[in-house]
């Protein structure tokens, strides 16, 4: 059976999958920025002890799976999510749901994704795609970050669904069920919930590595990278930072622009000037993240190499941290009416 699924490209995979899955069951008001904000997708963590591709683990978004879950929960939409230990069961469940007419979200690893360019194939397991049908033995795939839909064979799909390593997807699939539309009041309450949750994640997680504190922590550390690691390795670490921040799936500026867009859209439901002003603050933060990325590129390309260049890089992050700290504090003080 062919689902009447409509593919729409998005900036970020999970908020895009969430939007497209909801649209497929008739909920058309949830845009990508709304899904991102309701799901409290914005985050930061710098975990030097965990190494990814030989560089420190740096995250700009929340844990995979959380955006879909939080958005649907806040909107009272039923979701089903399942991991598998058996590959056969994982395939059977997918086929069954497709036959029932569902479009199904899958968490996959990108390393064996056949349509990805070679340069992008790392062992990154938190990518999300939608399978929306099966034709001539091939699965119809909507990857939200691609312009066009594509297909995968059963073998190819099984391989990416059972990718291994950190955050292994374990065949995880998910889908949403809902009767009727959702009201503007529900959207308003989901927006408030998402913002509150994001305030918590960015301001109140204990310890130095997460949230706005984590950004400042990384800023301070970067100033020592030149002496500690040498130019080559420090450059590779900065390249890792820029990749996590700007790479496909972020919408630019480490997801800060999507969040700014979310606050603008939220304003349409609340009509509060604060939201527009705070949207500008996140735009500013995104711009500064990108200025920092240009500085980092100067270092990893070998164009600049002095200690003061690392100091400036670190200072950019300290400044970003301050902007975001103030913005989230202001968000936490909003008097919702």
């Amino acid at each position: 059976m062919i689902n009447n699924f409509e593919h729409e490209q998005s900036a970020h995979c999970e908020s895009g999958v969430t939007r497209n899955l909801l649209k497929n069951i008739g909920i058309k008001k949830i845009t990508e920025p709304l899904a991102f904000g309701m799901g409290a997708g914005l985050f930061f963590a710098y975990i030097p002890l965990i190494k990814i591709n030989n560089g420190p683990a740096i995250a700009f978004r929340s844990f995979p799976g959380i955006i879909f879950k939080r958005t649907c929960h806040s909107l009272n939409i039923n979701i089903t999510r399942k991991k598998f230990s058996s590959r056969r069961e994982a395939a059977e469940m997918l086929d069954k749901k497709l036959a029932e007419g569902f479009a199904v979200g899958c968490q996959v690893g990108v390393y064996y994704l056949p349509y990805f360019p070679k340069e992008y194939r790392f062992h990154f397991n938190a990518h999300n795609i939608i399978v929306f049908g099966k034709e001539d033995g091939k699965y119809l795939i909507s990857d939200p970050i691609m312009e066009q839909v594509t297909t995968m064979t059963g073998y190819e799909l099984e391989r990416v669904r059972f990718a291994k390593g950190a955050l292994a997807p374990k065949g995880q699939l998910y889908f949403a069920e809902h009767k009727g539309d959702i009201s503007d009041d529900q959207i308003r309450s989901a927006i408030i919930k998402g913002i509150k949750r994001n305030v918590f994640d960015m301001l109140r997680i204990p310890g130095p590595v997460a949230g706005v504190k984590g950004i400042a922590f990384l800023g301070k550390k970067i100033k020592h990278w030149r002496d500690k690691f040498g130019l080559h390795k420090a450059g590779l670490y900065l390249a890792q930072l820029v990749r996590m921040q700007e790479e496909i799936g972020t919408g630019g500026g480490g997801f800060r622009y999507i969040y700014a867009a979310f606050l603008q859209e939220a304003n349409a439901y609340f009509n509060m000037d604060e939201l527009m002003q705070l949207s500008n603050e996140f735009t500013k933060a995104g711009d500064l993240w990108r200025t920092a990325a240009v500085q980092a590129a100067g270092i990893y390309k070998g164009r600049i190499s002095a200690q003061q260049d690392f100091n400036l890089m670190g200072d950019y992050l300290l400044e970003v941290s301050e902007i975001e700290k103030k913005a989230f504090k202001d968000l936490s003080k909003i008097n919702w009416h």
Partner: protein, 135 residues
């Protein structure tokens, strides 16, 4: 970022798909704009791959000097470490460490070789000779 500032530097990804960026229009309203890529991040990807290529080259030299088995070469080529390789093959890490030695590799059963070959997307011959034709 303003709409006009969305970078359009064609990179490896841009040839396959453009990507969605969020940017503001003249009135300050957020819209989406397609981007071909951005040199800053293309360079980030390039230096990362140069580093990987360097590691592959070193691994190949080690294998040719009989200091390591071809598993090392393919592990680097597939951007894996022993942990990732262990979960893909189902072998324990200590087994893989042993298979990294030429003496142990030469005694591997064809069943075990097949497992490695499949994970690395090569034939057993290619696995042994390191002569791979990129597919």
């Amino acid at each position: 970022m303003k709409k006009e500032e969305v970078p359009q530097d064609l990179g490896s990804l841009g040839k396959i798909t453009r990507e969605v960026c969020y940017a503001t229009d003249a009135s300050g309203k957020y819209i989406t704009e397609l981007s071909d890529g951005w040199n800053v991040k293309t360079n980030a990807l390039d230096v990362t791959w140069q580093d990987i290529e360097e590691k592959i080259k070193k691994a190949k030299a080690k294998v040719l000097h009989h200091e390591a088995s071809p598993i090392l070469f393919f592990m680097e080529k597939n951007v894996m470490n022993i942990g990732i390789l262990s979960s893909y093959t189902g072998f324990f890490k200590w087994q893989i460490r042993r298979h990294l030695k030429p003496s142990a590799f030469n005694k591997l059963s064809s069943k075990k070789l097949t497992i490695y070959a499949e994970v690395f997307n090569v034939t057993i011959d290619e696995l042994k000779t390191m002569e791979v034709h990129d597919k």
